[in-house]
């Protein structure tokens, strides 16, 4: 089943997919554009992976000091940076390079500590699409990637759905695509992750307790390009969802 969280008619609702759009828990059936989409669950700790696709590592190799098979490059984001499907993301007027990152998001459903990879998928509730923007103009070489690059308001898009793990037979065989204004700019497949999902859960749970609602953004493949105000960015993962986002300028924020 596919689950969403939306705002409609003065309240926040859980909803599920319906042929006409979505169905709220209270029975109301609504079109996709009749609701405000929120991140599809109450998000706890947000863990993101840098450089977890071999082709993306190659793409960025000029500035790298690491190689592919070292310890996973995991970093943290805060729930405050998240927005839902069909949301708006701000591009500051003075930046030169802001790019999307289409990522498979793995949502933890059962707490996990010292879990071995053979059992790791038993702790996964489901999957979402994430679009994890970065503004590289703000990159500094301390605690990379610093939060000013990676944890800005509106810059992490999550949704539309949380897809039950039971409905995703193999999370490592999913095509990823990003289209900017309809033009294909990024494609990859989750089979090319350097550290796969069980490895990531084993790695993380060896030093920290993962809890229900924690989410792991598993990294992005090659093909990140600059986006501009007015662009519609659609990140899509086979069987998981099609996540739409629009880039807006400073004037929307009174800046």
């Amino acid at each position: 089943m596919k689950h969403a969280r939306v705002a409609y008619a003065g309240a926040i609702h859980d909803a599920i997919e319906h042929p006409a759009g979505l169905r709220l828990a209270d029975g109301r059936v609504l079109a996709e554009d009749a609701v405000v989409w929120l991140p599809p669950f109450e998000v706890g700790t947000v863990i993101a992976l840098g450089l977890n696709y071999a082709d993306h590592v190659k793409e960025l190799s000029k500035e790298l000091t690491v190689t592919g098979k070292d310890e996973p490059l995991a970093f943290l984001k805060s729930p405050g940076a998240l927005i839902g499907h069909r949301g708006q993301t701000r591009r500051p007027a003075d930046v030169k390079f802001m790019h999307y990152e289409c990522e498979l998001a793995v949502v933890i459903g059962r707490s996990a500590r010292n879990v071995k990879r053979a059992h790791a998928l038993q702790h996964v509730a489901g999957y979402c699409v994430a679009n994890d923007y970065a503004i590289r103009d703000y990159l500094e070489n301390y605690y990379r990637p610093n939060l000013r690059v990676k944890n800005r308001d509106t810059c992490t898009v999550l949704g539309p759905w949380l897809v039950d793990a039971a409905d995703v037979p193999d999370p490592h065989q999913l095509a990823l695509h990003t289209r900017v204004n309809g033009q294909l700019t990024q494609q990859g497949n989750t089979r090319d992750m350097i550290a796969d999902i069980p490895e990531l859960i084993e790695y993380l749970s060896a030093f920290m307790t993962l809890s229900a609602g924690d989410v792991i953004l598993t990294g992005t493949p090659d093909g990140v390009v600059n986006v501009n105000v007015g662009d519609e960015v659609v990140t899509q993962i086979e069987g998981i969802g099609r996540l739409v986002n629009t880039i807006v300028g400073d004037e929307w924020f009174g800046r």
């Binding site: 706890g44 700790t45 863990i47 000091t65 690491v66 310890e71 490059l73 995991a74 970093f75 943290l76 984001k77 805060s78 729930p79 405050g80 940076a81 500590r113 010292n114 703000y138 500094e140 070489n141 301390y142 605690y143 990379r144 610093n146 939060l147 000013r148 944890n151 800005r152 308001d153 993380l204 030093f207 920290m208 307790t209 993962l210 809890s211």
Partner: protein, 256 residues
């Protein structure tokens, strides 16, 4: 939500909710020289740390800031996040992982937000603060701050906090607070928030320019240079004058 405080907010284990009481009440219940209840963290918001925001911590890097891999001194606040599995309260034991001989005790002031702060001016920033608490930002010692592993800062129990959040009105000068760290009763570090590169109000302004801070969120203002180290079996007490005394004992982590 708006988090308003007149006195101090704390949450002893066994109580259903965090409650507000006089500072003296919590001081008595949390006193480090006699037994008492363990505490839960006084807030469950997101906890942010600020790197190299103490002048002596920045100075300790010296010319390294201009060499690889850093290549330039920090331009804007460098923040990191202590995830929810790290946050524990006063008197809660902290596990020392089997592969770490000693841990670094990062004593710092925690600024607890009371109102949603987005793009606030420094002149107004303190009005968004509910109060202040004591935080021990624990790390596995690591030399490089270029791209440190989450293993160093994000282990279970690595962010003791409390005992209480003391109302902003009772802490009139957050940029002039003396901080001491004692290990097994011996003072091993003295610092002061007077040493901050970005004082509290300016830090809130600079952070909220790109990232909203929500009520209950905690902004740790930064750890001074030469953070002391402690081992399993030792008891660490951090005192911030006027804010509180936070005490935790380090214990060897149980085998998986």
């Amino acid at each position: 939500m708006i988090l308003m405080l007149q006195h101090a907010l704390a949450h002893p284990q066994g109580e259903a909710l965090a409650t507000e009481a006089a500072v003296e009440h919590w001081q008595a219940l949390a006193a480090v020289d006699r037994p008492g209840p363990a505490f839960l963290p006084p807030t469950r918001g997101t906890v942010y740390g600020t790197l190299l925001n103490h002048r002596d911590a920045l100075a300790a890097l010296g010319d390294q800031v201009n060499a690889a891999p850093y290549k330039a001194p920090p331009q804007a606040p460098i923040l990191y996040i202590k995830p929810r599995n790290t946050v524990v309260g006063h008197r809660v034991p902290v596990p020392v992982p089997a592969d770490a001989l000693e841990l670094e005790m990062g004593a710092t002031l925690g600024v607890v937000m009371g109102r949603t702060a987005s793009r606030v001016a420094a002149a107004d920033a303190l009005t968004y603060v509910a109060g202040y608490t004591v935080v021990n930002d624990i790390s596995v010692p690591h030399a490089s701050v270029y791209r440190p592993s989450m293993r160093f800062k994000c282990r279970d129990g690595f962010c003791p906090m409390g005992p209480a959040i003391v109302a902003r009105a009772l802490v009139p000068a957050p940029d002039a607070l003396d901080i001491t760290v004692a290990i097994d009763g011996h003072t091993v570090q003295r610092s002061s928030t007077a040493g901050l590169v970005l004082p509290v109000a300016q830090l809130i302004a600079d952070v909220s320019e790109f990232m909203t801070l929500f009520p209950g969120d905690v902004l740790m203002v930064g750890v001074a240079a030469n953070a002391p180290r402690a081992r399993a079996g030792q008891t660490v007490t951090i005192t911030i004058h006027g804010v509180g005394q936070l005490q935790n004992t380090l214990v060897a982590e149980a085998a998986p």
